[in-house]
């Protein structure tokens, strides 16, 4: 093995990955931006739908939400938004919760919450679409 510069505790694999003490790279930043873009596009498409159904009765609302194109937009929006929510709240927790145990529990709760919210919304849209 070479005895070149750098810590001898660091394996060549580790040095090549270049991730340092944070143990992660730019993946989080990139996903935040990608989901921000998809949120923006999907919100702009969903906005006219929301304005249309605002204040409508149950039958009219269900008829609108049940249309395949509307349902697909709302499903994509929910997926994109809850993903963005999860990694956004992760940063907030990491910034303000310093106790290691509480932090890990908060990060797990964040994952549970966002997946539950996304799944519940998706189930509701699918149930309406499939005419249940």
């Amino acid at each position: 093995m070479s005895t070149s510069s750098g810590s001898s505790m660091r394996t060549p694999r580790r040095r090549v990955a270049g991730l340092g003490s944070a143990r992660s790279g730019t993946g989080h930043f990139w996903l935040q931006r990608v989901t921000a873009l998809s949120n923006l596009i999907l919100i702009l498409i969903a906005l006219p739908i929301v304005i249309c159904v605002a204040g409508q009765g149950h039958a009219a609302t269900v008829a609108t939400l049940g249309h395949p194109l509307v349902a697909i937009v709302l499903l994509l929006l929910l997926f994109s938004v809850t993903f963005h929510m999860r990694i956004g709240m992760q940063v907030v927790i990491e910034d303000y919760v310093h106790s290691e145990g509480v932090k890990v529990l908060a990060l797990i709760a964040n994952t549970f919450f966002t997946i539950a919210v996304g799944s519940a919304g998706a189930f509701a849209i699918l149930k309406i679409s499939f005419g249940g």
Binding site: G55, G57, H58, M85, V117, I125
Partner: protein, 130 residues
């Protein structure tokens, strides 16, 4: 950190004079956290629509009340503000807009734009509802 040398700490928030750009950064985070919980409003409404006409009327009634409408207006403002703040970040991601005038202008556009678009949105909803 037992045995570790005392390291210099970077100064925290209280040492800085409040500035508009700093406030916009803080508001971007606050609106993000508010929207995190605000998504529940959308999902509760969807579940009510999927459940029964009675459940839907109940939720629609709550959302359509004065308190409900105030929350919805606040929610829509937070969403628009966070969205425009996000577009600001996209501009910064290209390397542009970091100068003193540009970032100050973008901060003002974010506030003005979010309030203006929120008013327009509710006028549009009011017009469609008739």
């Amino acid at each position: 950190m037992a045995g570790a040398a005392e390291r210099p700490l970077s100064p925290h928030l209280q040492i800085y004079r409040p500035m508009l750009t700093m406030m916009m950064s803080i508001v971007h985070r606050i609106t993000g956290v508010a929207l995190y919980f605000g998504t529940l409003l959308l999902v509760i409404w969807l579940i009510a629509a999927a459940s029964s006409p009675e459940a839907f009327d109940l939720v629609n009634g709550i959302y359509g009340s004065w308190i409900g409408l105030i929350v919805l207006v606040g929610y829509s403002w937070a969403l628009i503000h966070h969205a425009i703040g996000g577009i600001r970040h996209f501009i910064w991601d290209t390397g542009a807009g970091f100068g003193p005038e540009a970032r100050e202008l973008m901060a003002k556009l974010t506030i003005g734009g979010s309030i203006g678009l929120t008013v327009l949105l509710w006028i549009a909803i009011w017009l469609v509802k008739g």
